[in-house]
């Protein structure tokens, strides 16, 4: 195994962030998918654009869906980041073990 890119603190930080990210973004994806009203303010429906689409419900639905997919993709990215930082953490641990 090569030299770790991230230090021990940095990799621990990213591990924690990505666990948080995975849990929260998967849940938020589900909430967007079920079109929870609490998140309506967050999906940035532009009034003008909406009226161009005839104020249709489908427009809002597609917005919700886009965000749901985005959340899951971001969660997947965090899963990748987690695996990466986990490997880094292992490498760091091994290195400190070898040097001590």
């Amino acid at each position: 195994m090569g030299c770790p890119i991230l230090g021990p603190k940095c990799s621990a930080y990213y591990m924690i962030i990505s666990v948080w990210g995975i849990i929260m973004l998967v849940l938020m994806g589900i909430f967007f998918q079920i079109r929870t009203p609490s998140l309506f303010e967050d999906i940035s429906v532009d009034e003008e654009e909406w009226s161009n689409h005839g104020m249709s419900l489908d427009f809002v639905k597609s917005k919700y869906e886009d965000n749901a997919v985005n959340c899951w993709i971001a969660a997947a990215l965090y899963a990748v980041l987690f695996v990466f930082s986990f490997i880094q953490q292992r490498m760091n641990a091994r290195q400190t073990y070898e040097t001590s």
């Binding site: 609490s38 965000n67 985005n70 993709i73 990215l77």
Partner: protein, 822 residues
């Protein structure tokens, strides 16, 4: 465990110990291991140099110095010190000589090795310099030989001096520490006044890790006089001069000699380093144990110095405070100490009667210790005073959570503390010296409870990172048939008022705030009203609780006067002013259902009316009262509250004045009561006050009582207002987390599919970091400080004196834990 044991500090007693001189050391060592006695210094006037065991302490300090030296050497070599965490017993006094000898030997060995290796290194450096000089001069001569083909030139100046010339042309070579180019030039011009040539060759050398720039120079000159002059100049520039043979063959021979010497030196140096390393590794294995032993010995002799020698010189007399409940353990320790020392005469411990105020000792475990520290930071409880720490265990995290109510932030805090609690042993073993970390680690149970309670209050406020959860189904249903809420009405109006009369189902949301409020534009108005009422209710309850604890204090210290003239008017006053308000709040909540949502009177106006008696009150009767007769009752409350003031202010002084004049019997009773509770400082003070009153005048009591009354009455109002910080902080926290969500995380939801994911990936990190830094750390700190203030000022001022002094037992625990450099 009885209730008193939980409420009050341990019962303490002053004891006298008679320790046989030969057993004293072992006994004190045993007592240090159990850590339950606090010795009094019996010779406070004797200075440190005149005490009995000065020489022993000096020897210990000498040993500590040696160990510090060894530790420094070990650290220098980067050898890990073995820390097994075991706690050796204090060695017997005769072992001290062995220890001293061991350390002495080690120190001498280390010093010898160090001086040897230093000499060797110096030698090595010199030889390396010589080696470089030889190499450089060699290349210099070779280059000039090649460079100048002209035989006449080379012959006259630069070639090898022949045997004839040898006497006339001399050369000096040397090394000088190079500082800058200009320095070189200066010295060269200085020298070249006398000589033909000065030559500088720059060299960079690595010595001992730090690189040093040095220059080699060669000076050619003629005549002995010049030689001495040049030598002086060279000395002036701190250059080292080396002999340089004049023929090439000699130089080569010398170079070979230097090389072999360097190699020999290298092997010798390696061997010394090996030896040093071996010695240090052996020492590193034991150094922690050694230093613990030495510090224990020192602590024992320090303690022995506090003892008195009795007349026969056969035994030492000690005085100590100890908890009554632990007398058996102390006796056991003394017995085993005596056995260990082989003494035939047992050591004796006697309880003593005293008028001194005993120290306060609250037995704590690792959970309660943090809360006890919070209380003690304000002031150590008086001996046997009610200790607020057990209540603080719950009220502190709860009031914190009221200000920090958010399930998400609470969960972060809880998980962090849970990590600290679960990894407790490992983290303790690591002994991390970081101050911030050790603060968090010390308060891990406080943080754990704060986090858990914040999750609960977050559930009540229905906030997760400023969003609401609809866990149990919203209880507001828009009727499909109602014209007021159909599409046409929606398009016509900017905002629609959802009237509870038609839309609220009647059964409220099972726990906490209905999630529909997160969509309402008057959300803040609603939560403000709810949170303000809650903070007043919590505050009044806590203040009532504090006053009722003062009753326990009065009863324990047997002060019936204080119950009649302090406690009762306090309760009545607080109830008339604010207890009634709390009742009104509950009545308002319970009496009016969704069908009568327009009717409830404003609490604020009711309170104003209570205080300001308006002439035309019949008008208010119709608009602002809950029921008939309320006006009369309220007026009655105001009158009672006003009457409480003179009751508190004048009651006690008047009663005492009366007693002084007519009540002979009562005076005797009081005196009996006095002797009964002589032990406590407060009682002493109080009884002194009583005696003063009996014999002198009552003006002092009056002044004290006036101050006390004014403080309490004004405090009642200002403290109630102060509890509104619960509402203010929780509002600020909710708003801040909402702003953070809107300003940061919401940006990520504005992108299209695909790009939005990457934006979310980046922005989420920013949002998460800001959430932890601002909302959890900063807001958490501020909520912590406010909770602290509410406990110290608003709660404890009702009953807590906090003027005791803490019990500091003689214990080895701190010695084993602390690192040696402290």
């Amino acid at each position: 465990m009885s209730m008193d044991a939980l409420l009050r500090s341990e019962e303490m007693t002053l004891c006298q110990m008679f320790l046989q001189s030969e057993a004293a050391y072992a006994c004190v060592s045993e007592l240090g291991e159990i850590g339950l006695v606090q010795f009094r210094d019996l010779n406070p006037d004797v200075n440190a140099f005149q005490r009995k065991f000065v020489s022993e302490i000096r020897r210990c300090e000498e040993m500590e110095r040696k160990l510090r030296f060894l530790e420094k050497e070990i650290n220098k070599d980067g050898i890990p010190m073995l820390n097994t965490g075991d706690n050796p017993e204090a060695p017997a006094p005769r072992e001290m000589i062995d220890l001293e000898a061991t350390y002495e030997k080690l120190e001498n060995e280390m010093k010898e090795v160090n001086s040897n290796s230093e000499a060797l290194k110096r030698n090595f450096l010199e030889l390396t310099e010589l080696k470089h000089i030889l190499r450089k001069t060699q290349t210099f001569f070779e280059e000039t030989m090649q460079g100048y083909q002209d035989p006449s030139l080379s012959r006259s100046h630069y070639t090898e001096p022949t045997s004839k010339e040898r006497n006339s042309t001399n050369l000096i070579v040397g090394f000088s520490l190079q500082t800058s180019q200009s320095d070189d030039q200066r010295s060269s011009t200085c020298i070249s006044r006398f000589s033909d040539i000065v030559l500088f060759i720059r060299l960079k050398k690595n010595m001992n890790g730090d690189s040093v720039h040095k220059s080699v120079f060669i000076i050619f000159f003629q005549g002995e006089q010049l030689k001495s002059r040049i030598k002086k100049i060279c000395e002036g520039y701190r250059a080292t001069l080396y002999p340089c043979p004049e023929t090439q063959a000699e130089r080569r021979e010398m170079a070979i000699g230097v090389m072999t010497r360097i190699e020999d030196l290298n092997t010798v140096l390696g061997q010394t380093q090996d030896h040093r390393h071996r010695v240090l590794v052996a020492a590193a294995k034991n150094i922690k144990v050694w230093s613990i032993k030495v510090r224990k010995i020192k602590a024992i002799y320090h303690t022995l110095n506090m003892f008195n020698l009795d007349v026969t010189q056969k035994c030492l007399i000690a005085e100590c405070w100890c908890p009554v409940a632990d007398l058996d353990r102390i006796q056991q320790a003394l017995r085993s100490g005596t056995e260990r020392s082989g003494s035939s005469v047992p050591s004796i411990i006697n309880r003593m009667q005293t008028r001194m105020v005993p120290p306060t000792y609250n037995r704590c475990n690792k959970f309660t210790q943090g809360f006890q520290n919070i209380v003690d930071a304000y002031g150590v409880a008086c001996y046997r005073e009610v200790n607020p720490a057990p209540f603080t265990c719950i009220t502190f995290p709860f009031l914190f959570a009221v200000m920090f109510g958010d399930m998400g932030h609470g969960a972060i805090m809880f998980l962090f503390a849970l990590f600290l609690v679960l990894k407790e042993k490992q983290l303790q073993a690591k002994k991390i010296q970081n101050e911030i970390f050790s603060t968090f680690f010390g308060g891990r149970y406080i943080i754990l409870l704060m986090g858990a309670f914040s999750i609960y209050t977050g559930l009540i406020y229905n906030d997760v990172f400023s969003k609401s959860l609809n866990l149990f189904g919203c209880q507001w249903v828009i009727p499909a048939t109602d014209k007021a809420y159909d599409l046409a009405a929606l398009e016509a109006a900017d905002k629609i008022v959802v009237k509870p009369n038609g839309t609220f189902t009647g059964s409220s949301y099972p726990i906490g705030v209905d999630p529909i409020w997160s969509l309402a534009s008057n959300k803040i108005a609603f939560t403000n009203s709810l949170k303000m009422k809650m903070s007043i209710i919590l505050g009044i309850f806590q203040m009532f609780f504090g006053i009722s604890l003062s009753y326990l204090n009065h009863r324990h210290f047997q002060k019936p006067l204080n119950i009649i003239f302090d406690f009762i008017p306090m309760v009545v006053f607080l109830f008339c002013m604010f207890g009634y308000l709390v009742i009104l709040v509950f009545v308002k909540w319970l009496k009016y259902s969704s069908t009568s949502s327009q009717e409830p009177p404003s609490l604020l106006i009711v309170v104003v009316v209570v205080v300001v008696v308006v002439a035309d009150y019949y008008y208010f009767c119709y608009c602002y009262y809950y029921c008939f007769l309320q006006q009369g009752f309220q007026s009655f409350l105001v009158v009672v509250a006003v009457l409480c003031v003179p009751w508190m202010m004048l009651g006690k002084p008047m009663y005492m004045r009366y007693m002084k004049r007519y009540g002979q019997v009562s005076v005797q009773n009081l005196l009996i009561c006095l002797t009964h509770c002589f032990e406590t400082k407060r009682c002493l003070w109080y009884s002194a006050l009583l005696l003063n009153v009996l014999h002198e005048e009552f003006s002092e009591v009056l002044i004290h009582q006036v101050i006390h009354t004014i403080e309490f009455c004004l405090g009642c109002i200002s403290h109630t207002a102060s509890y509104l910080r619960l509402w203010a902080l929780s509002l600020a926290h909710a708003q801040l987390s909402e702003v953070l969500w809107q300003m940061v995380l919401r940006i990520a939801f504005g992108f299209s599919r695909g790009w939005g994911a990457i934006a979310l990936f980046i922005i989420f990190q920013v949002w998460a970091a800001l959430t932890v830094m601002i909302l959890v750390l900063m807001e958490g700190l501020s909520a912590f400080l406010h909770a602290l203030r509410l406990h110290w000022v608003e709660f404890q001022s009702k009953f807590y004196d906090g003027s005791g002094h803490i019990f500091v037992p003689f214990s080895f625990n701190s010695i084993a834990d602390a690192s040696p450099d402290e």
